[in-house]
Symmetry: C2
């Protein structure tokens, strides 16, 4: 694969993922459509193996490595969905994985990652550098570092979600005006853009980000990589990458329309709509594109629009918070 990934690479990833990734459903809801005055489709990636889209890219990465490299194992760092996706991809392909996780990561996420057979190396968020620890393991064992987004194999794997949703819309006889996906480092959004535009070139594709962490939206405006001021402080714990990737940003400039930025309050409202209308459990970071559609930042009126709900790994307390807010009577 060249360093500039193409639609053909997404198609190849889709063949690798056949029978591995769940072909998640593309759902719509008559009441939501009535309210918005258009057709809104939800690509339910929260129903994916390990509860998020991350298995698509991780599996595609491991499956693309040479047999010799696979025998030496893989290493990654993540406290969240990438950890679980990579560990499970390793289990499925028989590749030994080591995941560097913060010592204060939620016990459930550590347990879930370990349950897939990964070796867990804990680090201290204050004193240690997870990159140094991970790279040290790679040097010592010959394991390959699997990055969370900034690699063609990762983003084309994630792009299979876009290919699927475009095919599913086509099968319904629907031409999508726009598609939006959540964005942290840009692996999902640029991959989805590649997958969607290969099937439906006229569809505009947008990345959704939380307010204060809209590095990609600002970078697309300014034409150069911008960074976020803060490293934490949004409910969207999965979307806090500080700056667009070196591989993903040029693709984003070519493929993506203007960025969509939503507040934590709008995200909590979207999680409640996902619960009440779509019967889906969506985590905060997974709900940003849905929030953009529900608030009209991504217009749905008179159009056909699809949003990726990218994950459902949310703790009980946060979900209860989304369900407990004051809201107007239905």
């Amino acid at each position: 694969m060249s360093s500039l990934p193409t639609f053909a690479d997404v198609q190849a990833a889709a063949r690798r993922l056949e029978g591995v990734a769940v072909r998640t459903p593309l759902l719509e809801n008559a009441r939501v459509n009535d309210r918005l005055g258009g057709r809104l489709f939800v690509k339910a990636e929260c129903l994916q193996r390990t509860g998020s889209f991350k298995i698509r890219g991780a599996y595609n990465f491991l499956a693309s490595m040479t047999e010799a490299d696979r025998r030496k194992g893989a290493v990654g760092w993540s406290s969240g969905n990438h950890a679980q996706g990579l560990a499970e991809a390793g289990r499925l392909l028989g590749v030994r994985t080591t995941i560097v996780m913060p010592a204060d990561a939620p016990a459930l996420k550590v347990a879930n990652t370990r349950a897939s057979g990964a070796e867990i190396v804990l680090y201290d968020r204050v004193k240690d550098s997870r990159e140094e620890i991970g790279l040290g393991i790679a040097r010592k064992t010959g394991a390959t570092v699997v990055p969370p987004y900034d690699h063609p194999w990762i983003l084309t794997g994630q792009g299979t979600a876009g290919l699927e949703l475009a095919e599913q819309a086509k099968a319904l006889g629907v031409t999508l005006d726009a598609v939006a996906a959540p964005c942290s480092g840009g692996g999902l959004s640029t991959g989805v853009a590649l997958g969607v535009k290969g099937v439906s070139p006229g569809t505009s594709v947008h990345a959704g980000e939380p307010a204060g962490f809209d590095d990609l939206a600002r970078s697309l405006k300014s034409g150069r990589k911008e960074s976020n001021e803060k490293l934490s402080g949004s409910i969207c714990d999965a979307l806090l990458a500080p700056t667009p990737g070196d591989v993903t940003f040029p693709l984003a400039q070519t493929l993506l329309g203007p960025g969509l930025v939503v507040t934590d309050e709008e995200v909590l409202d979207a999680m409640e709509v996902a619960f009440r209308e779509f019967k889906l459990v969506v985590e905060p970071g997974g709900a940003v594109a849905l929030a953009a559609a529900l608030t009209g930042k991504l217009p749905v009126a008179g159009r056909a629009v699809a949003v990726v709900c990218s994950g459902g790994n949310v703790d009980h307390a946060t979900f209860i918070r989304a369900l407990s807010r004051e809201r107007p009577a239905a």
Copy 2:
């Protein structure tokens, strides 16, 4: 259609429902499988149009009526999922529907039913008989009464969920040992049995019921229609039919294995597992078959088992209750 429905009738219903009913996914979860020592599949009918399987039977019923009858409209009584399914089926087919609902039904359910264009007639649970009101409307207008379960067109429509899940399992190369579905009057469970056994004759099919409302389980044991002592008092508000139907019971005797009975506590636990592992919003009545599998009442160890999660129309407070219970650390 004769009064004894067959697999061919389920196949005919599936053709009518093509492009109307969502082909809901059949999901599994590696961690749950590890814990149970077998393969557990969840047929996610909570993702169906109107949030439950009920649209399958209601649409199949209206689509099977003569054109002349359809012009005279349809009437039904329900405070829950059948109301929403029938109203939406009427909207899709252009059949005027009248739904008799209790005056104290949750505002959200009344609003949802009205949003599909149904005319709502409210009655007083204490003073009025909803059957009398509904039959009165039918006499006056010539509208056809659409029963919630005890009719071949209804149960073969519901059976398309079973046909789908059997086909989905087959496509995965899996031979199902057992299937279970929630049961109130028996429309879903007998329909699912017809659909499953047409594809996979060796699969045993079971109906799940809440403790205290296990009229079908006791009827299957005694060989005659037994009734429940109470009419209310389970968290499973959708599963309170007092006795098996005249059409469904003979079918149940032929097609179903022993009944499965679960407590409200087990149902709440199953709703939490659906949230945490499957990322699905399942209502109490929709979770009884899942509860039977998770508690071992329907053994999964060393086997392949599928359960229907039949609906997701649960209010916020009940869902929060399921998520807030004490439970052992993961």
